[in-house]
Symmetry: C2
Subunit: 269 residues, 2 copies
């Protein structure tokens, strides 16, 4: 099932949208957080009649299981350039996400002055990067990875063989299949589709549950591969932040993200 | 008026809190965004009965003017360790902030493994930094700056005399007056109390209105000065991000923030 089908919604009554947490967008049975955010955002953009999330935040309340889903939207403010609304994504068992977002039309952007102090990640050629799908026949290959096309910089892929780089970063390429090129909502998926940075931290932590994810979208992506970089700078006090960037094929920063995740105590051996 | 008085609220009915957007916490007549967020957070912590925001996001809807204020709270989820709720802060004229936050008790933190790849900013001695209050008798001295104690690294203070550093950063010290030491809600103020990074970008932009501000709080601060760093890496497509950090006197990262702000087109001369 394509991404655009997997986030499809129909209005059941004003402000309420019905759809599915679709099969095949999960990691070990729990739907990917970026996919869930895109599903909720799809409700909000229809509700507000504005195509693009500019800033959108989700708090993760429970795992998203496959099944019937509903997005309940409530307008907070209608402005001239932007509109703000909140939403709840419900899935089997109850509320999965609580979302707050401001939407607009990124093509209306007033191109102000530019100053860029970051570069897109320097990556080897796509064919020299490590495909994350199960086609690769080994290791980290959740079901999600067969729906998208994600390739990891070999420098960041050692964790798959127990040889993590020791630096909590993940860099690589991302795209959706050709028949369903990456829309602005696809960026929300891309911002949460890579393995967690903790896998490269060389710490005895197996998973870092997301408390909250915020995505800032600056422009609609040009066709082609996106370059992605995810960086964690401080793991402390039981938390970490993970900062993401997506750059399009023209070298423009199209989206940024930051998430707060929990760093569980190391399990007793 | 002290910070704790300025964010004081009384419950008017379950989930609804009454207070003031207090005088003296503004910049040119509009209340500071961190102060407004702390006011809303104070309602949420009372509503949820949990002392500390862990992750809290505000979307800025209209300027906060001095006068009667109300915080309307709605629980989204009550969990064992955390609870999530949303709130609207109303001030004179209508809704000022829409807020979504997850709260808990930071002293319950499960201290997992630690890896820190950032340092607190290296600053000159406090007495060699530039006080931002009007006591300094010149330049950038909004009313807010007399309520707090903020000192700017001289390297980042040149914008006051039209000599910006050319790098959109602000570094300095922050504290609240002795009689009202910095609580965890004071961190929300500190994360938005410095001049905007754009002042040091050497670009013809006078102001960058905040669309959204997210704060992550990791621990309650130890007494003493906080060290602050605000960095903007990408100004593009009419937007910028501003990433903030606060480090306490023991060298621990206590809070991080990211805001999305608009970069207006340069005004015609």
């Amino acid at each position: 099932m394509s991404f655009s089908h997997a986030i499809a919604l129909t209005e059941s009554q004003p402000g309420h949208y019905a759809g599915q947490i679709a099969e095949g967008w999960d990691i070990g049975g729990n739907a990917n957080g970026g996919y869930l955010l895109a599903l909720a955002a799809n409700g909000l953009r229809q509700h507000l009649g504005r195509p693009d999330p500019v800033s959108i935040t989700a708090h993760y309340l429970r795992p998203g299981k496959v099944g019937a889903a509903a997005v309940h939207c409530e307008t907070v403010k209608e402005g001239k350039r932007f509109a703000t609304a909140r939403a709840t994504l419900e899935g089997p068992g109850g509320a999965v996400l609580s979302v707050l977002g401001t939407f607009g039309n990124l093509e209306d952007g007033t191109a102000g002055p530019t100053q860029v102090r970051l570069e897109p990640p320097a990556l080897p050629a796509v064919e020299d990067c490590f495909p994350l799908g199960s086609g690769s026949g080994e290791g980290f290959a959740p079901s999600l990875m067969d729906r998208i096309d994600a390739r990891l910089d070999p420098e960041d892929a050692g964790f798959r063989n127990g040889q993590s780089r020791g630096i909590p970063e993940m860099r690589g390429y991302f795209r959706l299949p050709d028949e369903d090129p990456c829309s602005v909502l696809g960026l929300l998926l891309g911002l949460d589709a890579f393995p967690p940075t903790i896998f490269n931290a060389n710490l005895p932590v197996a998973w870092t549950p997301t408390v909250e994810l915020t995505c800032h979208l600056r422009r609609r992506p040009a066709p082609g591969w996106l370059r992605a970089r995810f960086v964690t700078r401080v793991i402390s006090s039981g938390f970490l932040e993970e900062d993401g960037e997506l750059w399009d094929s023209t070298g423009q920063l199209v989206a940024q993200s930051r998430q707060l995740a929990l760093v569980p105590k190391v399990a007793a051996p």
